[in-house]
């Protein structure tokens, strides 16, 4: 198990708490809790050691394409691929916007 924390500047206000994904091999569970500070705090607990660089790349790319929401994003990762991770993160933000 590894714990990774990342922080990004954020501007989007999302209204709701949201949960996406499942606890299961090759997948992850992502939980978003909005707050008022202009930053996105990301806490990743992953079963894959040595994956910090990949998560940084994933969020750097995400940040280059989307405005990030203000809040805390908690991820419990069970060896998801970056593709699955990105989809779950997009889903949890979308849920938090419309839920």
């Amino acid at each position: 198990m590894e714990r990774i924390e990342l922080t990004y500047p954020a501007t989007e206000k999302l209204q709701h708490k949201a949960l996406a994904g499942v606890v299961g091999s090759g997948d992850l569970e992502a939980m978003f809790i909005p707050h008022q500070e202009k930053m996105l705090k990301i806490i990743i607990k992953t079963s894959v050691d040595g994956s910090k660089h990949r998560w940084q790349n994933l969020f750097n790319r995400f940040a280059s394409l989307h405005a990030l929401p203000m809040g805390t994003l908690e991820i419990n990762d069970f060896a998801s691929t970056p593709g699955v991770a990105k989809l779950r993160i997009e889903q949890v933000f979308e849920e938090a916007n419309y839920a």
Binding site: G26, D27, V48, S51, R54, N57, L58, R61, S64, L65, A79, T81, P82, G83, V84, K86, L87, E90, Q91, E94, E95
Partner: protein, 553 residues
């Protein structure tokens, strides 16, 4: 006349040699029927050291009894065989090499034995002639790899040698033809021997092409390779399936196609009756298929999407369903399906507008291969379906849609789509700077790198990130940048210039899911027409009878 230049050779040496060998087993045969218990002895008389032997076995049907018996012959008598094998799928196939019975191998696909082949090659226990696509290997059976002996499998034979191969006809006609009509010896293993032709459901191979039959100790093995359990389809497959349907199938109005096997294509098949229906695409796309009988196609068939399916081979459990849908599948007068791998590969080469496949590695230019370090998997049919056949002369709207120039003698192009996730399980990147195949080719002294599909044949790369419409690339450099635009956070993708990606999206050269109007939250398993094997059985009105391993009930 230059009479002194005329050769004095005998012109019927193969015929005489065949007669000699057949006479040598007189005592072991009752007419054409060889006894099961003395079969190894018969093989030692019918095969000669150094022979080219074609052993039937592809990714589905396996002449496994014949493979087992061949691995039991005395290597002092029979050695140095040159094996021609569409597929190496069983441990016995490689035992033949380990025991010194065979030395050289020409093949197409190795699947489950790919690791062991690599090892035997490294240890110089086997030599590889070439790795082929299926019909390329069959073609060579008629040119420079004509077999001395063919070992094939059938469900039933009569005492005269008529064979019933039914839904699993597959490669048998081509292999038998190349051997029988060049004075080679054709030996068929059968599950059941009947007395008379009238007792066979139908004749798939006529008796005069077959020299011997032997009743196997157990029915031949078939791998249900084309069954994908819908329970294992993930939301990411649903997302990519939606992108494919909207961004490729609908955009280009693809009416005829082949699907490689995988969860991506299974997802597409299960999305047609739901998502495809929502988009109003029924009757506009996906009507004609060159495809194995994928159980996941059942809901689309039942909803009226599919008009015809021609099959390379059968699929365990689909027999009754196919027999009950003769308007869709090719069936004999007995009602059972007839497959033919050679003809279906031809259909997939010339007849269809699109191939959608998957792979393990893609390089920056779109070249791809499933050969990776330590894994010599071969290609099967993918290179054949996954290329643009330059001999094609008929036009369809999808084919014409690939034309990019105003040149008055330009031609269309088959759609060749690679559908891959940017990373596979275990954080293995799919997009790489250089294919492992390049190194493997060098290490194994191959004259060319074992590339499965060349980049210049690829028209579309689809990942979870987006679709790159590579047929629109104006240069190699632009092609590379378009591949990078959908390569995610692989090393290839990280080098991307985000302004250029934005420009590609504006020009329609790259489309992200949101550009296609697809929201991530839509990518739910509930969108699939079937969520389990049990659902597929229900869709088929109980006609689909899945193998036990797929039953959870």
């Amino acid at each position: 006349m230059l009479a002194n230049l005329k050769s004095n050779r005998a012109w019927d040496s193969r015929l005489n040699e065949k007669k000699r060998r057949c006479n040598a087993v007189n005592k072991l045969a009752n007419g054409k029927v060889l006894a099961t218990d003395s079969f190894v002895e018969a093989l030692e008389k019918l095969i000669v050291a150094g022979d080219r032997v074609v052993l039937e076995g592809n990714n589905q049907k396996q002449a496994d009894f014949l493979a087992r018996k061949l691995s039991q012959v005395d290597p002092n008598i029979i050695h140095n065989l040159h094996m021609l094998m569409p597929s190496i799928g069983l441990p016995e196939h490689l035992d033949i090499f380990e025991k010194g019975i065979a030395k050289k191998l020409d093949f197409s696909f190795s699947g489950t034995q790919s690791l062991r082949i690599s090892q035997l090659l490294a240890d110089h226990i086997l030599e590889i002639g070439a790795i082929h696509t299926y019909i390329e290997l069959y073609a060579r059976l008629f040119v420079d790899l004509i077999p001395n002996v063919a070992l094939v499998a059938a469900y039933k034979a009569d005492r005269n040698g008529n064979l019933y191969t039914g839904p699993s006809t597959e490669d048998t006609p081509s292999i038998v033809e190349a051997t029988a009509f060049k004075n080679g010896i054709v030996i068929a293993q059968v599950n059941e021997l009947v007395d008379d032709e009238a007792d066979l459901p139908r004749v798939d191979i006529p008796a005069s092409w077959v020299d011997f039959v032997v009743v196997a100790d157990k029915p031949f093995f078939i791998e249900p390779l084309f069954t994908r359990d819908p329970r294992l389809i993930k939301p990411i497959h649903v997302l990519m399936g939606m992108m494919a349907i909207k961004g490729i199938y609908a955009k280009h109005q693809v009416k005829s196609l082949n699907h490689g096997i995988g969860f991506n294509t299974a997802a597409i098949e299960l999305l047609l009756p739901t998502y495809g229906e929502q988009l109003g695409l029924k009757g506009k796309i996906c009507q004609h298929w060159a495809l194995n009988p994928h159980p996941t196609l059942i809901p689309a068939i039942e909803c009226g999407w599919v008009e015809t399916v021609h099959c390379f081979g059968g699929e365990l459990g689909m027999e009754k369903y196919m027999a009950a849908r003769p308007d869709i599948f090719f069936t004999g007068h007995d009602g059972s399906m007839r497959s033919n791998r050679t003809l279906c590969q031809l259909a997939g080469q010339y007849g269809v507008d699109m191939f959608v496949g998957s792979t393990l590695q893609v390089d920056g230019l779109g070249n791809s291969s499933t050969v990776t370090h330590g894994r010599l998997s071969g290609f099967g049919g993918a290179p054949n379906m996954g290329h643009d056949p330059h001999g094609r002369r008929h036009a369809t709207s999808a084919w014409l849609d690939m034309m990019q120039s105003q040149n008055p003698v330009d031609r269309g192009h088959k759609l060749v789509v690679q559908m891959v996730e940017t990373f596979q399980a275990g954080a293995k990147p799919t997009f790489v700077e250089q294919l492992d195949a390049v190194e493997v080719g060098k290490e194994s002294d191959m004259p060319i790198a074992p590339v499965m599909i060349y980049g210049d044949d690829i028209t579309h790369v689809l990942t979870e990130e987006g679709i790159a419409y590579l047929y629109q690339a104006k240069s190699l450099e632009e092609r590379r940048a378009m591949v990078a635009a959908v390569a995610g956070i692989t090393d290839i993708g990280l080098g991307v210039d985000s302004k250029r990606v934005a420009q590609f999206r504006k020009e329609g050269k790259v489309a992200f899911p949101q550009d296609l109007g697809i929201q991530p939250t839509q990518a739910q398993r509930s969108l699939l027409a079937a969520n389990s094997i049990a659902d597929l059985v229900e869709w088929s009105d109980g006609l689909y009878d899945p193998p036990a391993r797929f039953k959870s009930w």
